[in-house]
């Protein structure tokens, strides 16, 4: 259950690269055009590192590997929706549509992200139309990376059946959402009346739709774990330097105990997140559903609590717009609430017992 040497190398490579590429000042800029958070060149460079293709069946990558990368994206506060893109590339290969888009994502010439209803909302509905088309209805309220993406992989319901449909992002109305999170682009996507031509959509088994949902939940859990890990580093660094009453505030036991609690919460959250990814790799979707819910419950609360403590321990400094702290605190709260709230995860853990 420990990270392999390869995974540690992957994490190190991703961390170094993201540290050089991520400009948190852009996230703080007032009225920043969200697409400007990253460039086409960033996407190409990420693809060259293999980060967008690592889940493709031909690459042999696993969700456990993706977990390592996503944790680094969170740690960096990166705007790049690379976990989502890697997931889309895998699903397209698996269901046999959009081969060119999957290749484009893997090469870094375009990004694609999933568009799915939030778990608390009704599914996006689709109705088969003439000539093998699929006509979509309703709206995806929260699409992370939706503004910068060239393609959307829509998870839809046709009655009791499930379907995945590949939609060019330029063909739908996307609205930038104003959210707590300043470091990522989040869009609402209006899919009313969008007609997907034959060949760009397919019915899928419930297992494929479930895999998509679980993988998205895992991406947000590990993003939060990485961001919380960054906050722990920032906090430990700050309380070692900051002096009050003639000594570093980190020498006060009240501060030490808060920092230790952060470290334990983050460690438990990390273990649960990686366990969920490994369980999803096993292909046992029932066990994975449980592991995802465990991670969502423990990490959802644990990382937000760690972020809250990080702010407290930074004192007034952490309350300023200029400090990076709030960017991570905001991001962690968004990770907690999208793709399944702790409340929802906990209900699942009770409903599946007995």
């Amino acid at each position: 259950m420990l990270l392999s040497e390869e995974q540690i190398s992957l994490a190190d490579a991703a961390r170094d690269w993201l540290a050089r590429r991520t400009d948190l000042a852009a996230a703080r800029a007032d009225g920043a055009a969200l697409a400007a958070l990253y460039s086409a060149d960033d996407v190409r460079a990420a693809a060259e590192l293999g980060l967008t293709s690592l889940l493709r069946p031909a690459e042999g990558g696993t969700f456990a590997d993706l977990a390592v990368v996503v944790e680094e994206l969170g740690r960096a506060g990166s705007p790049l929706p690379l976990g989502q893109a890697a997931l889309v590339a895998r699903l397209l290969d698996q269901i046999g549509i959009g081969a060119a888009v999957s290749d484009a994502v893997a090469e870094g010439s375009a990004l694609a992200v999933p568009a799915a209803a939030e778990p608390d909302d009704a599914a996006i509905s689709g109705v088969p139309g003439a000539d093998g088309t699929l006509v979509l209805a309703s709206r995806a309220a929260v699409v992370v990376g939706g503004l910068g993406a060239a393609w959307l992989l829509v998870s839809a319901a046709i009655g009791d059946d499930r379907a995945l449909a590949l939609v060019p992002a330029a063909s739908v109305t996307r609205t930038a959402r104003t959210t707590l999170d300043l470091s990522r682009d989040i869009a609402a996507v209006d899919l009313h009346g969008v007609t997907v031509p034959a060949g760009d959509w397919t019915r899928v088994g419930a297992d494929v739709a479930e895999t998509l949902d679980q993988a998205l939940a895992i991406i947000h859990t590990l993003d939060a774990v990485g961001a919380a890990g960054r906050l722990l580093d920032l906090t430990v660094g700050y309380v070692k330097e900051r002096e009050q009453f003639g000594r570093p505030v980190g020498s006060f036991q009240a501060v030490k105990h808060h920092a230790a609690t952060m470290a334990v919460d983050i460690e438990a959250s990390r273990l649960c997140g990686h366990d969920a990814a490994r369980t999803l790799d096993s292909g046992d979707l029932v066990a994975a559903g449980t592991a995802v819910a465990v991670a969502g419950s423990v990490a959802g609360e644990g990382t937000s609590r760690a972020a809250s403590t990080a702010l407290q321990l930074h004192g007034g400094m952490g309350f300023t717009w200029e400090h990076d702290l709030h960017l991570f605190l905001r991001r962690i709260k968004v990770d907690e609430l999208v793709r399944g709230t702790p409340r929802r995860h906990r209900e699942r853990l009770v409903a599946t017992a007995g």
């Binding site: 259950m1 420990l2 020498s251 609690t261 460690e267 592991a291």
Partner: protein, 395 residues
């Protein structure tokens, strides 16, 4: 009921063997939470037979040196499986401080000591108690004041120990005492293996908040012990004690099984207890608590498994053991507080009341839960340790 608690150490065939063995040999189910002393001579005899049978079958002591009955090429995952299965059967796992004494003797004992003392630990002819804590030295163990003064060919011990589980039953003691008052506090301590029937040792049972007597105070008034009782070298006691405490690796995996069983029992109870005429389990807030606890129990298992895997791979970190201890002890307390609260007004009834739920089990566990957040390094000590040694915050 069946709850998927997630994967762990498998070793399926070995696990089946252990289960069958336990089914055939284990004494009746423990009535009370935690590590408790036998309440009478019959219970003690039964416990002695059970633990001796585990050694005899090779389920205990397999990690010992081969010349003392250990198994060549022992797989430490087997120890985890044994601990988990004993916990699952709600059978006792400890025979006093025997495990702790054995690991100290194996690592630091002289050949003569090992040959004399280890066989009687395997056979359970000896029962050991741990003599570490003092009234003035709990979390600050280095502040202990019990003195062992060199005198002729031995030492004369004077002072007081406390929280000595099984002290009233034990015939051997694993003692830490100060032999050199002139050096910094952790350096002047020596470990001893002593006979509890030595003149000058007085054992007085303590009654705890649970109402039971599991601990003792032990008074030393000029008790004379031989130089051959020293474990390791004089002044090495701190190292001996820390090494033997660190050997207790299977504690978390067994504790996780205890939590799983408690969760399942409480879940079944919540289907029966009614609030406003409906099963408690239908209440949204109750469901949320059950869901959160289930997740936290899984996290506890993962902390234990990760720590064990790191140890085996030589990648242990400072944070591993204290994080597991903190997580378990605080979760165990939350779970048992929730249990008592869930029972509502009936939650006030304890063992002895005819209407007490499950014979007062939940109230006993609720009170006993504080032992875990205090003993073996309190939660505050664990957090200091993580902050100072893992995160590098200034002392």
């Amino acid at each position: 009921m069946s709850v998927d608690w997630g994967s762990g150490t498998e070793l399926g065939e070995f696990r089946e063997q252990v289960r069958a063995f336990i089914a055939g040999h284990a004494p009746g189910r423990a009535a009370r939470a935690g590590v408790r002393s036998p309440e009478n001579a019959e219970e003690l005899a039964e416990l002695r037979r059970w633990i001796a049978a585990l050694f005899e079958a090779g389920y205990f002591g397999a990690d010992w040196p081969v010349e003392f009955g250990g198994e060549a090429g022992h797989d430490p995952r087997r120890d985890v499986v044994v601990a988990e299965e004993i916990a699952r059967a709600r059978a006792p796992m400890h025979f006093g401080g025997n495990g702790l004494a054995a690991s100290a003797l194996i690592r630091f004992g002289r050949d003569e000591q090992k040959a004399r003392l280890l066989p009687a630990i395997r056979s359970c002819d000896d029962l050991w108690c741990q003599l570490f804590s003092e009234p003035g030295a709990g979390s600050d163990l280095g502040g202990m004041r019990t003195r062992a003064v060199a005198d002729g060919d031995g030492y004369v011990v004077t002072g007081q120990k406390v929280w000595t589980t099984n002290g009233h039953w034990a015939n051997r003691g694993y003692l830490l005492a100060r032999t050199d008052p002139d050096v910094p506090k952790h350096k002047g301590i020596t470990a001893f293996a002593i006979d509890m029937d030595t003149p000058g040792i007085d054992v007085r049972p303590l009654r705890e908040l649970t109402g039971t007597s599991d601990f003792n105070e032990v008074f030393f008034d000029g008790a004379r012990i031989p130089a051959s009782a020293v474990i390791g070298r004089p002044g090495q006691g701190w190292i001996v004690a820390n090494a033997s405490l660190a050997e207790e690796r299977n504690g978390v995996s067994a504790a996780v099984v205890d939590l799983q069983l408690a969760w399942e029992d409480l879940y079944a109870l919540a289907q029966k207890i009614e609030i406003d005429g409906r099963p408690a389990l239908e209440q949204a807030d109750v469901r949320q608590r059950f869901g959160a606890l289930r997740a936290e129990i899984r996290a506890c298992a993962l902390l234990g498994q990760s720590s064990f895997a790191r140890w085996r791979a030589g990648r242990e970190r400072v944070i591993d053991a204290p994080a597991g201890k903190l997580w378990f002890s605080e979760l165990n307390l939350r779970l048992n507080e929730f249990a008592v609260d869930l029972l509502g007004a009936r939650g006030i009834l304890t063992e002895g009341d005819t209407d007490a739920v499950d014979g007062g089990r939940w109230q006993d566990a609720y009170l006993y839960a504080r032992a875990y957040t205090i003993a073996g390094g309190s939660s505050e000590i664990m957090r200091n340790l993580i902050a100072e040694r893992a995160l590098g915050l200034p002392r």
